[in-house]
């Protein structure tokens, strides 16, 4: 479904759209407050942006350094070209260890690769242990936000869901109660798990270790109890040095949720005693993006979600309206730069207000990348015929003073027709808006008269 159609459906429930908007604006405000406690905030953003730019130009070198050091730490490193290879590798590791139950902490990469359904087909039970992820898993939905996957659900709905799936008290919407019940339910599953899978926030080349940031400690529990830990990472998660990490940890949680730091910032330097640790490094289209000058910077993304929280379109259309696993400004770029036909409306789900570009902790030029993607979509002929024809005509008219004059007169005459002819179902402007009152003269006409008077 195109973004405008999906957004129209979301907005039909205006109260809900406004509730969604306010919830996310609240997070944006928390971010503002927390960011403003760091006087060197803008300098931090610059530094982070430069580290990422350096990483992208030297990715091969750093990934190989990482592999070497990780191996020395006793970690097994795997390389996956695409989602299928990633899923096959993970499934094979799990099967080799006779894993029946897997606990997962949040990983957008495994969502991107559709790992869960693949594992379930192979008879492996997967439990998402991040509370938000658990909610969307139980609702059989996709996350609608990369940091707050269930931000689109209301407390009452979660209460009903837990009642149905876990037998909690009907109608109890107390967040503490619901969280506690989910925690108890998950605790059982942690204890019974045969393996734990995590995402990766940062992989440090210098040390061959990975860092996972969570607020719930679920990644820690999921990797401490079972003997097998698999960490899946997109190849762009690599950073050169341990000292670079500090720049990002200062930016990440402040930008994401307005916290000074995530509750847990866990460093994994190797397998636990007697256990095994595997890291799967995934490309899945990233090198394709890396090869495009204009979109390369999108690989700097640290998945903080700040661009979603600030995006006035995202807040009012909801994450699912994007139809791509990562929604909002960064998702529109990632989706459309990989498949500009399938996601041809996403770069247009944007007013080019540039709020995202200014909030982004790694300074991705988000709104300009979206604008560039529009050119790509137009050049690749994925623009709807109506827009294509209209713009061709506009280009002709607006480059010629004569045609501009004639067209101006035609439009002004048309707008003088009775209301019925102006406001109808073909007029998308006029559905909820009036046109401005038509002035008697154009400015050009006024100037002609003024100049005459002067002579």
């Amino acid at each position: 479904m195109s973004h405008p159609k999906a957004a129209e459906q979301f907005i039909k429930d205006r109260d809900r759209a406004r509730w969604h908007d306010k919830s996310l604006w609240f997070v944006r405000q928390k971010r503002d407050k927390m960011a403003s406690t760091v006087p060197e905030w803008e300098e931090l953003r610059n530094t982070a942006s430069q580290i990422k730019a350096h990483m992208i130009s030297n990715m091969e070198q750093y990934l190989l350094e990482f592999e070497k050091n990780a191996k020395a730490n006793g970690i097994t490193v795997h390389w996956a070209l695409d989602a299928k290879e990633h899923n096959d590798i993970v499934t094979k590791i799990l099967k080799d260890h006779n894993v029946k139950k897997l606990v997962k902490s949040k990983s957008m990469l495994t969502e991107e690769c559709h790992l869960n359904p693949h594992l379930e087909k192979n008879g492996i039970e997967v439990v998402d242990t991040d509370l938000g992820e658990r909610i969307v898993q139980l609702r059989e939905e996709k996350p609608s936000h990369i940091v707050m996957p269930a931000i689109h659900t209301k407390r009452e709905e979660i209460s009903d869901l837990f009642h149905e799936k876990m037998g909690t008290e009907k109608g109890n919407i107390d967040p503490d109660y619901l969280t506690y019940q989910a925690r108890m339910d998950l605790r059982e599953r942690f204890l019974k798990a045969d393996a734990g899978l995590t995402g990766v926030n940062f992989a440090i080349a210098e040390t061959g270790s990975v860092v996972v940031c969570t607020n719930e400690g679920n990644a820690d529990l999921g990797t401490s109890l079972p003997d097998l830990h698999i960490a899946c990472m997109g190849m762009e998660k690599i950073i050169p040095k341990m000292e670079d990490l500090a720049v990002f940890t200062r930016l990440l949680a402040r930008s994401a949720t307005g916290q000074p730091i995530t509750t847990y910032t866990s460093h994994f330097h190797g397998p636990k005693k007697g256990g095994e640790m595997h890291i799967v490094i995934v490309d899945n289209g990233r090198t394709k993006v890396m090869g495009q000058d204009k979109f390369r910077r999108s690989l700097s993304c640290i998945r903080c979600g700040a661009c979603m929280n600030t995006c006035p379109v995202y807040r009012r259309s909801g994450g699912h309206s994007y139809g791509y696993i990562v929604p909002g400004p960064i998702g529109s770029i990632l989706g459309a730069s990989r498949d500009s036909k399938e996601h041809n409306t996403l770069p247009y789900a944007c007013t080019l207000c540039a709020s995202c570009t200014n909030v982004c902790p790694v300074k991705i030029d988000l709104h300009n990348e979206l604008l560039t993607l529009r050119t790509k979509i137009s050049e690749e002929k994925h623009l709807p015929a109506t827009k294509r024809i209209a713009m061709k005509a506009a280009g002709k008219v607006l480059s010629s003073p004569k045609m501009y004059k004639v067209a101006g007169m035609a439009v002004r005459t048309a707008l003088k027709m009775p209301r019925f002819f102006v406001y109808n179902r073909f007029n998308d402007w006029g559905k909820d808006r009036e046109l401005p009152p038509l002035p008697k003269k154009t400015f050009k006409q006024m100037m002609k008269e003024r100049n005459k008077g002067k002579k």
Binding site: P4, T351, A354, S355, K396, S400, K431, E434, P436
Partner: protein
Amino acid sequence: MQVSLFIPCYMDQLYPDVAMATLTLLEKHGCEVTYPMNQTCCGQPMANTGCSADTKATAKHFIEVFKGSDYVVCPSGSCVSMVREHYDGLVPDSDEVNSLRSKTYELCEFLVDVLKVDKIDAEFNHKVGLHQSCHGLRELRLGSCSEQIVEKYSKAETLLRMVKGIELVKPERPDECCGFGGTFAVAEKDVSCLMGEDRINDHENAGAEVIVGYDSSCLMHMGGISNRQKRNLKFMHIAEILNGAAT
């Protein structure tokens, strides 16, 4: 000071009074203003749809019309940002063209940065909410945006504060987009109108009687929603107030 006035296509057709207020305001502040009659548009509608090929002729025409100007001044932040920030690849990369682009100014920044205006002879006895349109704010940096942790400033507000009797009210969200967005207003009409309505509510709750901005396009969008809902709100371009519009 010699100034060429650039009036965007939609303002020529729909907002001639704002254009005239801009012209007389510049004259009051000592500018000799010429208005090249064969001007049309900056090309933004096509460019923002991604149709670069269809933009080139219009952008080139803009350069042809205004070349040789000491300054080009325009009462629309968005169109100025098109010329200054987005003409790369559309027009020749020559010293002459680049200098013309860098001398193209939005009205408020021209008054503050070039003319260094410190007095405005105008009175406006109303509660006013300033709508800081996005391209002016976040591309031309007419003010600090709420996302950045920098010292706060606003060129438009600086000017409005010189107007006698004016009371500036502050919406809760200082610089959220109104949802106009060019073709977005039509292609994504549902999101667009909800955004516009939310902006209006925010200003209205802050006590605004008049919403003022430096881009008539955003004002047209919000004004259109407000009028449909029969609200008692006025929408005015900053040029009208600075030029001493009757209140």
